[in-house]
């Protein structure tokens, strides 16, 4: 490989700088059009007169960038103060805390405001959370006084801008939808990259903590509809969220739900492509991913939707695995049945599947595991369409929006534009929740939605 490296680079340099074509054959594509060639000699010539190649290159790099929009021949340097570039002195402490919660909310800092892009346009208020690569603060726009969420990303000196920041910023740039958190602004300073989001006052996790024991069925319907609406929008754009969990679903005071935290999302490309299989929080992770499949598609997110749907109705997480992947899978199979080649073609060839690893459970009705599903019309049927072990059988977000479960919602909802909130339809309103809990109750363990692990081990072994 070293040899290749040298050949590649040296031949590049030789050809690019001295116009010698010898030795470059293997990697140079002969060009069809020759119109660019005449001028090249004169443009490369000055470089040849510089004796020390390397030094010349480095010097050039510092001074060679000239923005076209300046209309002057004045050299604009990479280090120019306007560029606010990363410096090598970026602080990088890696506080590993898995639960990064972002709380942003409706506000409208106009992106065209005069101070757009400047760090001093926002006043930093209290810290909202700390993640592995970013810290989130509540903030206030000095331009219009609206609240914002500031996600401050530390820039690593080793590898430049973190890939999570690049993905989150570039994906959110292209997403404009009422159910996706709005990215107002991006601020680059020497040590940090700050993403400025709308401020939303809570998230689904906190909302469910506050109203434990299951949410009002009407509210579940409204939240689920909005979640599917947002997902259908991103899935149509070849983007998977990959990290769906209640903490990442922001809830505004009026009941608007917004998808947030796109750090692990990415544009879906070639279907044969593999993604890292360490992305989804275990509780919301689909069995195919748990079994080591890396063939992700939009079905990946749909499993998480099913888990969140059940959690909203039942008041407890659908599959709250306590230990590891094995435990998580057993919890799933205990309800849905242990998959076989008949129910899930190809399951035996998944990397982590060993037939003797799992007791053979038979599939049950979902309401046996989560009784409250039986109390809401069509809820059980819809949940069963999300919770399919075989990924290809999982319903898509687009199709799920047409399910009978949503029949009660007015048809006007299906006509609103992407940017309109569902609450722009007059009759829709968030219902007051019946139970408000201040202290976390022990109801979590007591409800039948949670299988105690002792119970799960000897039940229905064949």
């Amino acid at each position: 490989m070293k040899k290749l490296r040298r050949t590649l680079s040296e031949s590049f340099r030789r050809v690019a700088l001295k116009k010698e074509d010898g030795g470059f054959d293997e990697i140079c594509v002969s060009k069809m059009s020759t119109r660019g060639c005449q001028g090249s000699d004169s443009l490369f010539r000055p470089l040849d007169s510089i004796p020390e190649e390397r030094r010349a290159r480095v010097q050039r790099t510092q001074s060679g960038f000239e923005p076209f929009d300046k209309h002057t021949s004045q050299v604009k340097r990479v280090h120019s103060e306007n560029n606010a570039c990363i410096n090598a002195s970026g602080s990088n402490t890696h506080a590993e805390s898995p639960k990064l919660r972002r709380h942003s909310s409706p506000s409208s800092v106009s992106p065209t405001s005069p101070k757009f892009g400047k760090v001093d346009s926002y006043e930093k208020l209290e810290k909202l959370g700390e993640g592995s690569y970013a810290t989130v603060y509540k903030g206030k726009s000095k331009v219009n006084g609206k609240l914002v969420a500031l996600k401050v990303i530390r820039l690593q000196e080793e590898e430049g801008t973190p890939f999570t920041a690049i993905r989150e910023a570039s994906l959110l740039k292209g997403l404009k939808h009422a159910n996706i958190v709005l990215l107002h602004d991006i601020i680059h300073t020497k040590e940090t990259l700050t993403l400025v989001f709308e401020y939303v006052h809570t998230d689904l996790c906190r909302y469910m903590d506050k109203h434990s024991g299951g949410l009002h069925p009407e509210n579940v319907r409204l939240f689920l509809f909005q979640l599917l609406r947002g997902l259908s929008y991103i899935h149509q754009r070849f983007i998977l969220h990959r990290d769906l969990k209640p903490q990442n679903l922001l809830i505004s005071e009026t009941g608007e739900l917004k998808l947030a935290d796109f750090g692990l999302a990415r544009a879906k490309s070639v279907p044969s492509h593999t993604y890292s299989n360490e992305v989804v929080t275990l509780w919301y992770r689909p069995p195919d991913v748990l079994l080591g499949s890396t063939e992700y598609s939009t079905c990946l997110d749909m499993w998480g939707v099913g888990c969140i749907f059940i959690e909203m109705i039942q008041g407890v997480a659908a599959f709250p695995g306590m230990k590891d992947v094995q435990d998580q899978l057993e919890r799933i199979f205990l309800v849905l049945g242990t998959p076989s080649e008949e129910t899930w073609p190809g399951v035996h060839s998944l990397p982590h599947f060993k037939p003797d690893r799992f007791p053979v459970y038979s599939a049950k009705k979902l309401r046996q595991a989560w009784n409250k599903l039986g109390h809401v019309d069509h809820a059980e049927d819809l949940a069963s369409r999300f919770l399919q072990c075989f990924p290809k059988k999982r319903v898509s977000a687009q199709t799920a929006l047409q399910h009978e479960f949503f029949n009660q919602l007015t048809s006007k909802l299906r006509e609103i534009s992407d940017m309109s909130s569902i609450f722009s339809v007059p009759s829709l309103k968030l219902q007051p929740e019946s139970n408000i809990t201040n202290i976390k109750t022990h109801s979590k363990g007591a409800t039948c939605g949670c299988f105690p692990s002792v119970f799960s081990q000897d039940e229905e072994k064949t």
Partner: protein, 319 residues
């Protein structure tokens, strides 16, 4: 079809989403047992339409027009080098296409000295891989491929500058996307046409086994079309075409080349030629939303490009 971009808002293309999706539905109707897959196909269709319309926002036409030092020849050399680098790191073609797009769009905004053009190349590749790949190459590796002519700080600064200049807009539709889309669409049509299913890679659930020869010719067709797309990246003459146009032209050309080769060869490859015949049938129907004459023009230019690069492509044809 010329898309009326002015009527499309930034946020959605819903008014255009329906008609092609419906025709897709009709084609797929006989295969009721594939219903779940059909749902995904419909996503593919709407993705395709959105990506096709998005191209216009990400095209860097005439990116060298205002560059004082960077010539088409230099761009060709750099991209040829990047092609070797992406293979060296075993990156996806998507990363490579995206890197070239990032580089071109940066060139539209900023003039670059000839001696830091290579730095721009690796920086674009780094940004593209951060956006696309599970693991991107280490900065150190990239620097050593440039014979350590540049420093880490320079690369990081340029990365920052590129992101700012492009305003973090990186999700460009690429040749890789359209290549994948058109090929899988052709193959699924073919599968419907023969009432058989073509297994796509990594998909063990389907029972249908293609005759080896047939699979082989499909694989060769994919490789060849991919190679033609690769070559087109390096030639500035193709900068004026949208990726969807280049891909459709490359597919037409690949079929053409393989057909010609089959006729010349003495051995009878019946099933291969049948596969090709079918795939060729598809190019009569308009495949995408692009202008037909533009595709023909591009196909002609690609033909010339391929004939100039015979050696690199020959083994793919005669394999």
């Amino acid at each position: 079809m010329r898309v009326n971009m002015s009527t499309l808002s930034d946020s959605g293309f819903e008014e255009d989403l329906h008609s092609p999706a419906e025709s897709r539905e009709q084609r797929a109707r006989p295969r009721a047992r594939l219903s779940a897959e059909r749902l995904h196909c419909d996503y593919d269709e709407s993705c395709f339409i959105i990506q096709t319309h998005k191209q216009h926002h990400f095209q860097a036409r005439d990116c060298l027009a205002r560059q004082p030092q960077i010539t088409a020849e230099a761009r060709c050399k750099l991209v040829s080098w990047l092609l070797a680098v992406y293979k060296h790191f075993k990156l996806s073609f998507e990363s490579c296409c995206l890197a070239v797009n990032i580089m071109d769009r940066f060139l539209v905004t900023t003039s670059v000295a000839a001696d830091c053009f290579q730095l721009l190349g690796v920086t674009s590749l780094l940004i593209a891989t951060k956006h696309v790949e599970v693991c991107s190459p280490r900065i150190k590796q990239l620097l050593s491929l440039c014979c350590d002519a540049f420093s880490r700080e320079q690369l990081c600064n340029l990365e920052c500058l590129v992101l700012l200049r492009l305003n973090f807009r990186l999700a460009a539709p690429t040749l890789a996307f359209f290549l994948d889309y058109f090929i899988s669409r052709e193959l699924s049509r073919y599968a419907i046409g023969t009432e058989e299913k073509i297994p796509d890679e990594g998909n063990n659930c389907r029972s249908w086994k293609a005759p080896e020869e047939q699979l082989f010719s499909v694989k060769r067709y994919k490789c060849l079309a991919g190679k033609v797309c690769e070559l087109s990246l390096a030639d500035y003459a193709f900068n004026k075409y949208r990726p969807s146009v280049i891909v459709q032209s490359a597919l037409n050309l690949a079929k053409d080349l393989l057909r010609r080769q089959l006729k010349e060869s003495s051995v009878k490859h019946t099933s291969s030629s049948e596969t090709l015949d079918f795939l060729c049938g598809a190019d009569n129907n308009s495949q995408g939303l692009d202008d037909h004459t533009l595709i023909q023009q591009c196909t002609q230019e690609l033909k010339l490009l391929v004939s100039l690069n015979q050696e690199s492509i020959q083994d793919l044809i005669t394999l």
